[in-house]
């Protein structure tokens, strides 16, 4: 029941049966999706953080690296989230923290998608040896708890966000390899693919033109949710001293400083709130996207 008359199913979820989309319909449904409160909320938070990330240097109250007042001030009119052990403005540092976490989250997911997705698609489409090789490698990688694997890699490479990036790509690629493999294998069975084969299209063309576009919906939903997870893992690595190096205003590193100054709660709470909102935003967005795109029914 994959390919049907879209009008037969009026719900916003099911009408995005990807194979039948026309450009016109697509635009309409993408606007409609903001009626989903999850998406609206998630998009709003994500957009706010994106705007902060891009524009913060124009309007942030202080320099995130400079000591601007006496140290360990509790939140007040001048310093909304207080000051840290060096007298830097915590509010400013939290805002600038978005410049550390968000780009790396996007980069990690993009890289993992590129590497893992390519390997997974090849494995799913060609099967046999390629499938076995890629999937066993993925299994081995996924056998380690993500945080432990990331820590091991980051510790081996040395601290720094760049090494943290490599560590996280290593953690994430198998997820996308698996996901794309499953999607490709499902799509591969469909009639229009068989039709393409019969017509004589090459395997590369079929994979590119017919299989991948159909497989991507589910992956996008997953990627959106994973952005939040990467933000969290970045912060975890920095919290453990394996990510950002001082004096970078990275949220996880700031929480470490807060843990050292246990009684100055604001130092840890402020970046904690930032992480919470960002992760929440991405999760709502991902959840909403899943509902709207109705990945399951699209595959059925």
């Amino acid at each position: 029941m994959t390919i049907q008359d879209p009008h037969a199913i009026p719900t916003p979820g099911a009408d995005v049966v990807v194979a039948t989309r026309t450009p016109n319909r697509s635009r309409r449904s993408s606007l409609a999706m903001f009626r989903n409160p999850g998406i609206a909320f998630g998009t709003a938070i994500t957009l706010i953080w994106l705007v902060i990330m891009i524009t913060v240097h124009w309007w942030a109250p202080y320099d995130p690296y400079e000591s601007v007042g006496s140290r360990l001030q509790s939140p007040n009119g001048q310093h909304w989230f207080g000051t840290d052990a060096l007298g830097r403005d915590v509010f400013t540092r939290v805002l600038y923290g978005s410049r550390q976490s968000l780009p790396i989250a996007v980069l990690v997911i993009a890289s993992a998608l590129l590497i893992g997705g390519t390997l997974g698609a090849l494995a799913g489409y060609f099967g046999k040896f390629a499938d076995t090789a890629v999937m066993r490698l993925a299994d081995v990688t996924m056998a380690f708890p993500p945080i432990l694997l990331a820590m091991a890699v980051a510790a081996a490479l040395g601290p720094g966000l760049r090494n943290g990036f490599f560590a996280m790509v290593i953690v994430w690629w198998p997820i996308y390899a698996r996901l794309l493999r499953a999607q490709v294998m499902a799509v591969k069975q469909r009639e229009h693919i068989e039709a393409a084969v019969t017509v004589g299209a090459t395997r590369g063309r079929i994979l590119r033109r017919h299989v991948l576009p159909l497989s991507f919906t589910g992956v996008m939903v997953n990627a959106t949710m994973d952005l939040g997870q990467v933000v969290l893992l970045t912060a975890s690595l920095s919290f453990l001293g394996l990510g950002a190096v001082p004096p970078a205003p990275e949220w996880g590193a700031m929480i470490t400083e807060g843990a050292k100054n246990f009684y100055q709660w604001w130092i840890a709470v402020a970046p904690g709130l930032a992480i919470a909102t960002v992760v929440l935003g991405f999760n709502f967005l991902g959840d909403g996207l899943r509902d709207v795109l109705d990945v399951r029914s699209a595959q059925r």
């Binding site: 690296y65 140290r71 060096l86 040395g158 001082p246």
Partner: protein, 572 residues
């Protein structure tokens, strides 16, 4: 020279475990200068009774019946419990409680030695021959403490060639004319030896039992063939008020009362040093009454417990200090520029010393002039460092570096004596930016740091130091640009470079070791000035210590030789 082993650190256990297992840190000991003029000698005769009279709450006799057990919270840094190999702050506490030294330091007066296993001691006129008379003491198994045990213990310390072995450097013989007399002879005058004898690492073990039970070796073969270390992790063979019950790394070090203690009845049936990593947890456990003493409460959280009627809280001056060091011979970025003394002086003048004191220990500490800490011989008359940005900028211009340069700063990721290195180094980074020096901070785990600094030096680093004993000789021996000293090698670029030597320092150290009184103080003052002139070390913080305990705990004192001497602790 504790700076070369783990201090209490906030390094994350998980991360540390992954980077490397705790590295064994071999330290080049300071080779003390030698010979020449011998003037002035000291003769010290202690109290001839067998007690440690003169100190309040001596091995506090509890009348035999039990008060409660003592629980001490501490972030432990134990590298070994073998008396010849242990070398750490926690080791000082352990060794002092379990293995007694011949003499010890009066906690209230650094310069006064008081009797412990020795009843009297004397040095000849030129400080080359030291004679000790032993008390009628017994080991925990009841056998007498004899001169041969002292000789064996000290020879073993010297021959295992571990971190503390340098304490015995320069001796030519240890003789035992009778069972109760020990005579140590040095090749060159060594006015530091009596303070050294009071260092916990100089404790005496039961040699017969060590040989019988652990096959411990004390002769020249000890360095390679001695394998007694595991035995000492489970057993102790000392004469002190407490004995080792058990040690579990990362958990607890448990001591039990030595029921055969020769010098009174130790206060507590059991003493547990409990591993509690951070200051906040230590403070909470102290407030909850779970521990009797918390040893590493941070100065920032002091306000949380001050005025609590259930607790006894005070701060005291310490002899610990934290410093940054620049290495002109280091390979990394900035090493080449540091070869110009003007650049090093500019760095010295750019640092905001009072600001650093404020951000690291909330102002609860002192500035320090040279690597000889406040309170030690030779520290009093030197000028304290101060910030002078104009002069620093002028010096940079004169050196042709107005636009500055990049300086690599790798440092151990630790939190010692209340000073968080991350915070301190970020402040240094801010300060040096004002003279256009871009500091590239690289916090690393301790083993990685020690590898780097010994292999090729580190352009700018941060380190800490707590005294091993109460004589100033350890400072020029470690920090001096004296041939063979650890820092002369590190400053010159480690094994890959060439040591830096200041020709004036070795003769000055020999002179100090051969003199006493005012002449000795003058020699150390001069040495301190020379070390300032080297422009290698910039001491930043001489922090105060927080002494925090339950209100009824007495004798929780900081000791210059021994950190915390458990035999003074009681319940009042």
């Amino acid at each position: 020279m504790r700076s070369s082993f783990m201090g209490s650190s906030t390094g994350r256990a998980s991360g540390r475990g992954l980077v490397a297992a705790l590295a064994t840190v071999a330290l080049i000991a300071a080779s003390c200068g030698s010979d020449d003029d011998s003037s002035g000698g000291t003769t010290v005769v202690g109290d001839s009774s067998n007690t440690t009279a003169g100190v309040d709450s001596t091995p506090a006799s509890a009348g035999g019946t039990d008060v409660r057990e003592l629980v001490v919270a501490r972030d432990m840094d134990v590298n070994s419990l073998d008396p010849a190999r242990a070398y750490c702050d926690t080791c000082q506490i352990y060794l002092t409680a379990v293995y007694e030294t011949l003499i010890t330091v009066d906690p209230s007066d650094l310069s006064q030695q008081i009797p412990r296993l020795a009843t009297s001691w004397e040095a000849n006129d030129d400080n080359t021959v030291f004679t000790f008379a032993l008390a009628d003491a017994t080991f925990a198994d009841g056998s007498p403490v004899e001169a041969k045990d002292v000789k064996w213990s000290w020879e073993r310390l010297s021959n295992v060639k571990a971190s503390a072995s340098y304490l015995m450097d320069g001796y030519s013989s240890i003789e035992t004319p009778d069972e109760k007399t020990v005579v140590v002879t040095f090749e060159a005058p060594n006015s530091a030896f009596l303070p050294i004898v009071s260092a916990p690492y100089m404790g005496v073990s039961n040699s017969d039992e060590a040989i019988a039970q652990a096959s411990a070796l004390a002769d020249e073969t000890a360095e390679t063939d001695d394998s007694a270390e595991p035995f000492f992790l489970e057993n102790s063979l000392g004469s002190g008020p407490y004995q080792l019950e058990s040690y579990t790394e990362g958990d607890a070090l448990v001591l039990v009362r030595n029921d055969n203690y020769w010098n009174g009845t130790p206060q507590f049936p059991m003493v547990t040093i409990k591993q509690v990593k951070d200051s906040a947890s230590q403070l909470q456990q102290l407030q909850a009454g779970d521990v009797d003493i918390a040893m590493q409460i941070s100065l920032d959280s002091l306000s949380q417990i001050e005025g609590d009627p259930n607790l006894n809280v005070s701060t005291t001056d310490s002899y610990n200090f934290v410093y940054i060091a620049v290495s002109p011979g280091a390979q990394g970025p900035g090493g080449a520029e540091l070869q110009d003394p003007m650049v090093r002086e500019a760095i010295k003048l750019a640092v905001d010393y009072t600001g650093i004191l404020d951000v690291t220990v909330a102002g609860n500490g002192k500035l320090q002039a040279s690597p000889i800490p406040n309170g030690f011989d030779g520290s009093a008359d030197l000028a304290l460092p101060a910030q002078d940005l104009d002069k620093a900028t002028a010096l940079m211009a004169e050196a042709g570096l107005t636009d500055g340069f990049t300086l690599d700063a790798m440092y151990p990721k630790v939190n010692v004596y209340g000073v968080d290195f991350d915070v301190m180094m970020q402040k240094v980074q801010q300060d040096l930016k004002k003279i256009n020096i871009e500091v590239n901070l690289q916090p690393v785990e301790f083993p990685q740091w020690i590898d780097a600094i010994n292999a090729e030096g580190i352009p700018l680093t941060a380190v800490y130091f707590a005294p091993d004993h109460t004589d100033s000789s350890q400072y020029p021996g470690y920090f001096g640009m004296i041939d063979g000293s650890p820092w002369s090698v590190r400053a010159g670029g480690g094994a890959a470079g060439a040591p830096i030597v200041n020709e004036k320092e070795a003769p000055l150290l020999s002179k100090a070791l051969a003199s006493s009184g005012a002449a000795k103080t003058a020699a150390y003052t001069e040495l301190g000035q020379e070390m300032i002139n080297d422009l290698i070390f910039f001491p930043l913080v001489n922090p105060q210590l927080v002494l925090a305990s339950q209100a009824d705990v007495t004798g929780n004192l900081y000791s210059g030789c021994c950190n915390l001497d458990l035999s003074f602790v009681g319940i009042g």
